[in-house]
Symmetry: C2
Subunit: 239 residues, 2 copies
Amino acid sequence: MSAVATLSSKGQKTRERILEVALELFQERGYEATTMRMIATAAGVSLGNSYYYFPTKEHLVQGFYNRIHIDLVAASKEQLAKARSLRERLRVVMRAQVDVMLPYHAVSGALFRSALTPGSPLSPFSEASGPARRKAINYLREVIDGSGSRFPADLAANLPELLWLYELGLVMFWVHDNSDGQRRTYELIEDSSDAIVRLLGMANLPGLRAIRKRMLTWVAAVIKENAGPLVLEGTSTAD
Amino acid sequence: MSAVATLSSKGQKTRERILEVALELFQERGYEATTMRMIATAAGVSLGNSYYYFPTKEHLVQGFYNRIHIDLVAASKEQLAKARSLRERLRVVMRAQVDVMLPYHAVSGALFRSALTPGSPLSPFSEASGPARRKAINYLREVIDGSGSRFPADLAANLPELLWLYELGLVMFWVHDNSDGQRRTYELIEDSSDAIVRLLGMANLPGLRAIRKRMLTWVAAVIKENAGPLVLEGTSTAD
DNA sequence: GTCTATAACCGGATAGAC
DNA sequence: GTCTATCCGGTTATAGAC
């Protein structure tokens, strides 16, 4: 699933080094201003060689996505173990998500540029992003399962995907958030996590049931249409 | 607000011709595969000269946005005059929006690529997109006002912006929609317009009022944060 | 001051030898 | 797995024509 079919351990290290310096340079100078030539030089390889490991500049961004998810889990694991309510568990994870992305805020626009381009391998819905996506969704499944909350079957089956879309939305908000330290995003997390939990609790209100069913159908369609066959009724395509 | 300070009538025509052939070529060959050199040649100007009218390739995309809104109004005006209910009026406009974009579906990914990049002049929230955005929002205001519906003041004041975000969401869905003729998007329009009207009707349900208020605050923040000072309490910054 | 052209630059990407 | 040489296309510099 990586850019290169098989990679010797030396190759692994070279690849890692290139990604490392690339992410550093992106932070320091921005995405556009960082040239492949700079990256190659800083990593101590030739320009052509860097393309052996990352077929395009954008593939370096995919490396960034993967890195972020690993950091997210590392940053939230202990806190998550201590949180009980779904509200609090959601908050822990979403705060951690924003925390680990912090150093990249200035470049985040460029880094997430391709995120919503259909067909792009960088799209979170793409085949190439499948492993990262499934990891993220499965982590959210843990977030839900670890709370005591129970929901109607159709809702429960799609809740991880639903929360994943919520996470994507939060990230998009954060990208556009220019308040200092992205304070507003943290506020939004407090507020929206609460709203979500309340809405979920009301899912069975008589007037809302029909709308809920329709919305779920469409959310499932969005993900399916974009990401290929996925969970629809609870059977997980686990990683 | 155009790329060039002042433009003679001859200049206007040249600019128009460049945009024309560019949009044709985008449709025929895609965005990436269409080079500035091709566009210049097809328009009968030198490469350097085309940059006099469109400072970057992306500025041609902005020309596309403007074109689309004009087409949308033209395609929906009469039908809109005949539609009474908010539901039907919404449908008319959203269907027309999708209709006029049809020829561009194959390239839409590339064309909307920059749409969600913060800071990009192509972002629908950007300063440069201000005129187009205000036109779109004002058209939606007409859609609402022309229906008999009345809403609580805070909701009414933000409803045009809210529906504009809905329109953006629909366009994003359409971009990713690979069903034939984008059938699913048309279905989504039927379904979601209905859901929206129902939700608006329930805006005063006891359990929902608090959530509604909070959501409105955040929607206002999203638009304000990104698009600069805008309507918050009903005073329009009309075009 | 409005418009047009030619030449060059720069950086992402590729070819192909070793 | 690594390199050098080259291509290609967006963009810019700049000189001049109407």
